[in-house]
């Protein structure tokens, strides 16, 4: 060791930093400013769309941790989200607890439900694990429709009052947007920290080579369970926010179909990367919005096709896009982005 410790610590610190150059700080600051000012500059449904993207992002981040980082395939993320929505919803609707309590409890409830599937992941892998997590979907729907009506409302679902802090209620689109933005920012930061520290490396070790992970002292069983626990916790938080956003919770809001979309977002964005989860959630969500806007207009121009057909066709197109990614760019958009970034970094002096 020739260099003094201080110099080393400084460089290691730089190694670990997420944002390194002044330009990156500028971009980041600009991005944050746009998010903060969106209610004032956004047109039309921008705020509503951004709110839904924020909620989706939290659920997709969780799925990224479970499936992309720790390699445990999960087709039940939407059911985990539903558990969070119902737990928070029931406490808010029946007992009138504050959202400061119900949202974390929603997360924990989903996490415990999810961890059960982590236990299953010890014995089964890949395709069979996927099938097992699909079962979560059916257990969830069945339970919510059959459990006592005083708890979860059965087929009628739950109706919530807006989240409130004293006399301040999150009862407008703009207000709930800021709530979702704050939580989404926190959860994104947390996911980044997690993946840069011991737990994140253990996840990737379990994903890449579980034998080698055992041999260096990683308890593979524990980390598989933890991956489901944390991923479902994210889903639960997302579900609870959803409950306060639409203020109505019902079992058929959380379908297997939604879980599949979440996986699609990961594939398009890029498996195993936090930035990939963000890109995937934003891009696919915006495309879906585009379809709901453009669909009726196309149907207007070509009435012979009929609205139903146009809508179905465009969804198929989006599904096709995901398949294209699986085949041609399995590393996702984040990989493209990294290539652009690299060439930009060395820009005046390309090799």
């Amino acid at each position: 060791m020739t260099l003094p410790g201080g110099v080393h610590a400084e460089t290691y610190q730089q190694d670990r930093a997420l944002i390194r150059t002044r330009w990156q700080w500028l971009w980041f600051a600009g991005f944050v400013a746009v998010l903060l000012l969106l209610p004032f500059i956004g047109i039309g449904k921008a705020v509503g769309i951004a709110t839904v993207i924020g909620i989706t992002l939290i659920a997709v981040l969780g799925l990224q941790l479970t499936s992309g980082c720790a390699g445990q395939i999960n087709m039940g993320q939407s059911a985990f989200m539903g558990v969070g929505a119902y737990a928070a919803g029931a406490l808010a609707a029946n007992l009138h607890w504050s959202f400061l309590l119900t949202i974390p409890i929603g997360g924990i409830s989903a996490a415990v439900f999810g961890a059960v599937f982590g236990l299953a992941a010890l014995r089964i892998k890949g395709f069979y694990l996927a099938l097992t997590t699909i079962a979560a979907q059916f257990i969830f729907t069945f339970a919510m429709l059959k459990l006592p009506k005083e708890w979860f409302g059965q087929s009628e679902g739950l109706r919530l009052d807006p989240a409130a802090l004293g006399s301040f209620a999150f009862n407008t689109d703009n207000r709930i947007y800021y709530l979702v933005l704050a939580v989404a920012a926190l959860m994104t930061y947390g996911a980044w920290g997690l993946m840069r520290s011991r737990t994140g490396r253990a996840f990737i070790a379990v994903r890449d080579n579980d034998n080698a992970a055992e041999v260096i002292g990683i308890n593979v069983f524990y980390y598989k369970t933890l991956a489901f626990f944390i991923g479902a916790f994210y889903a639960g938080i997302a579900g609870a926010l959803w409950a306060y956003y639409v203020r109505y919770v019902q079992a058929d809001q959380f379908t297997l179909w939604l879980s599949v979309w979440y996986l699609g977002m990961l594939i398009v964005g890029g498996m195993g990367s936090i930035l990939g989860a963000i890109i995937g959630a934003v891009v696919i969500r915006l495309l879906q919005e585009l379809i709901t806007v453009a669909g009726p207009q196309v149907a207007d121009v070509l009435p012979a096709l009929g609205g139903q057909f146009v809508f179905a066709a465009m969804n198929m197109l989006l599904g096709g896009l995901i398949i294209v990614f699986v085949i041609f760019e399995p590393r996702g958009l984040v990989h493209r982005w990294n290539i652009v970034k690299e060439s930009y970094r060395i820009w005046p002096f390309p090799h």
């Binding site: 290691y12 920290g193 997690l194 840069r196 520290s197 990737i204 890449d208 002292g217």
Partner: protein, 274 residues
């Protein structure tokens, strides 16, 4: 060559020179009808380089698998510093201080060299999921602290210039070096190496031999090495255990093994079998 200092806790607890660090007592391992090991016993002394040799399929890898808990022998017991470790899961045995490298490549392909080595520090780190989530403070401080030990190992293995590369992009020889680095990052009390030089060119082999000798010197730990290259084995081993068809057929120093008729017969027999 940069110096690799022994981990503090290792230096503090010197093992008695007489007691074996690891001991196998009559282990028998079967897979269905195949008996991979039968009644195998041996001792690994403090800070010796102990080679395990034998023809293909003799049971060398199976022996290492029993030692680090991958396989559970049907009979016999294994001891680490006189603690019975038979039946413990691999991660528990690893935490006692049994480090291991693999036959072939078993790295974490999605991580950089530094992160592979930091993963090797896993059992010496304490950051939990919640601290990782918060990151600032505790987790960050631990990252920097552990990074220092990892950098020592990177220096020692002369892989400074590739530290940020994804291991998937490295040559075979370098990957084997990272594999060794990850095991060293555990600060092991004994190091098991399964054919560390297989598939390497002469230069890479020489480097690896140098590392094995230096590890024993610098860390004062025993190294158990499975190797086919007899020149290497005769050069560096203090003691050799020879396996054939799952039986120990000879044990002793290199000179004794070289002239042992049973060993010569096993190797000649293996030639004929092939």
């Amino acid at each position: 060559m940069p110096e690799l200092a022994a981990a503090p806790e290792l230096a503090a607890v010197p093992a008695p020179a007489t007691a074996p660090i690891m001991r196998a007592d009559g282990i028998t391992l079967r897979f269905g009808g195949v008996t991979a090991l039968s009644d195998v016993s041996f001792e690994i002394g403090a800070s010796e380089i102990h080679a395990i040799i034998g023809p293909n399929g003799a049971g060398k890898s199976c022996t290492l698998n029993c030692m680090n808990g991958f396989s559970l022998p049907q009979q016999g017991r294994l001891f680490f510093r006189e603690q019975d470790i038979t039946g413990l899961p691999p991660h528990r045995i690893a935490r006692l201080g049994v480090g291991r490298t693999f036959q072939g490549l078993q790295l974490f392909a999605g991580l950089s060299v530094v992160d592979n080595l930091l993963t090797g520090r896993h059992m010496h780190m304490k950051t939990g999921a919640l601290q990782g989530f918060v990151y600032r403070g505790w987790a960050h401080a631990e990252e920097l602290r552990e990074r220092r030990r990892v950098e020592e190992i990177i220096d020692f293995l002369e892989i400074k210039n590739i530290r940020h590369k994804l291991v998937g992009s490295l040559s075979y020889g370098l990957r084997k070096r990272v594999d060794l680095g990850r095991a060293l990052a555990m600060d092991p009390r004994v190091l098991l190496m399964d054919e560390p030089m297989a598939g390497m060119n002469l230069e890479e082999k020489e480097d690896m031999v140098r590392f094995v000798i230096d590890i024993r010197e610098a860390l004062d730990i025993p190294v158990v090495i499975v190797e086919h290259d007899m020149h290497v084995v005769m050069d560096i081993a203090d003691r050799i255990t020879v396996l054939d068809w799952g039986h120990v057929i000879a044990r002793g120093g290199p000179q004794a093994i070289k002239g042992d008729p049973a060993v010569i017969k096993a190797y000649l027999g293996a030639e004929v079998r092939r």
